[in-house]
């Protein structure tokens, strides 16, 4: 994207970070993945750590994240992003390493890795995009799907009896001693975006201090699977997801030094 010349007397106050490539993103219109990508890359740019940051995105809609984030990246098998990230971090302990995982990935097939990576306190950032469905494969139930919610595998709405309860894995993670900083954020309004950015920044700064795993849940949307317009989806999110997945910090590091 060419940046247009400065309009006379005007200055740029906001533009896409250099840590995003110019490749147009394949996400559906209004999808929260794009915002989360951008905000994370803004932090990487602002911290000046592009050359020391390595990202891992597994299968899920964000599988092509490496096309958009202008940093070294690995694509991981479904559910294993945090294990892959641990492998990287263990051999390159001075780098900033993050995983970027969907709810299907992190809270279903990858549950074991999630719990154990945090329990070991791997010094990585885990970004957890909770959109309540399997977006990429066409909108099947995720562990985080709300009760009553219709998906392609719960066509009559999710029922406790057969499919169990929606899983607040972030709450579990927050209780592990290996967790350094655990927070739940969103991306659908200017305010939540600002907060998310602060959270990412904090998480990456903690990483330097080797205090354990930082875990940032982003309660996001999937307009396509939810079969809503982006605006409707964001409204639905506030009304339905937030009551069950309330925003805010679940764990802060013991000391701030």
């Amino acid at each position: 994207m060419d940046i247009p010349p400065l309009t006379n007397g005007y200055e740029i106050v906001y533009k896409k970070p250099q840590t995003l490539t110019d490749t147009p993103m394949h996400y559906c219109p209004g999808c929260g993945h794009g915002v989360a990508h951008r905000v994370l890359m803004e932090v990487v740019e602002e911290m000046g750590i592009q050359d020391r940051t390595i990202g891992v995105a597994p299968v899920g809609c964000s599988v092509f994240a490496y096309d958009y984030m202008n940093i070294d990246m690995q694509e991981a098998p479904h559910g294993r992003a945090s294990a892959v990230a641990s492998g990287i971090k263990r051999v390159l302990p001075d780098r900033y390493v993050f995983s970027y995982q969907g709810d299907g990935d992190l809270a279903a097939i990858g549950t074991g890795e999630t719990i154990h990576v945090v329990n070991r306190g791997e010094n990585i950032l885990m970004v957890f995009i909770n959109n309540g469905v399997y977006g990429m494969t066409g909108g099947q139930m995720a562990p985080t799907t709300l009760l009553g919610m219709k998906t392609t595998t719960t066509p009559y709405g999710r029922e406790v009896k057969t499919a169990g309860h929606p899983l607040r894995i972030t709450n579990l993670v927050a209780q592990l001693p290996g967790a350094c900083y655990v927070t739940r954020q969103a991306v659908h309004t200017p305010t939540t975006v600002r907060k998310l950015k602060k959270a990412f920044r904090a998480a990456l700064e903690y990483q330097q201090k080797q205090q354990g795993t930082c875990f940032v849940e982003v309660v996001s949307n999937c307009p396509s699977s939810w079969k809503m317009t982006p605006a409707e989806a964001n409204k639905w999110l506030e009304e339905n997801m937030f009551p069950f997945y309330p925003l805010g910090d679940l764990k802060l590091p013991a000391q701030s030094n």
């Binding site: 994207m1 200055e11 740029i12 106050v13 906001y14 896409k16 209004g30 794009g34 915002v35 605006a231």
Partner: protein
């Protein structure tokens, strides 16, 4: 009131309208035209933008650049101020 403006990459925009929702000034709307990807894209429809950046913050496709009038009191040099 601070004056601002936005430049929207029309080929990148997917017409999700989230910027339109987010703009406190109601400065934005959808164009009638369709871009190469087949989307009606977002455009400035009023000249009252304050450069508040809200639209850019919520744009999932990083399609928006926001400008603000330079504060005349400040010293020279094109300072890029990132407000968040």
């Amino acid at each position: 009131m601070i004056r601002g403006t936005v430049v929207i990459a029309e080929d990148i925009c997917k017409g999700c309208e989230l910027c339109i929702e987010a703009c406190p000034q109601e400065s934005l709307g959808l164009s009638d035209k369709i871009n190469l990807k087949g989307y009606r894209y977002a455009v400035l429809v009023k000249d009252n933008c304050t450069g508040c950046v809200n639209c850019a913050l919520v744009c999932p496709d990083a399609a928006i650049i926001v400008y603000r009038q330079k504060k005349p009191t400040k010293t020279a040099g094109p300072q890029v101020e990132v407000p968040i």
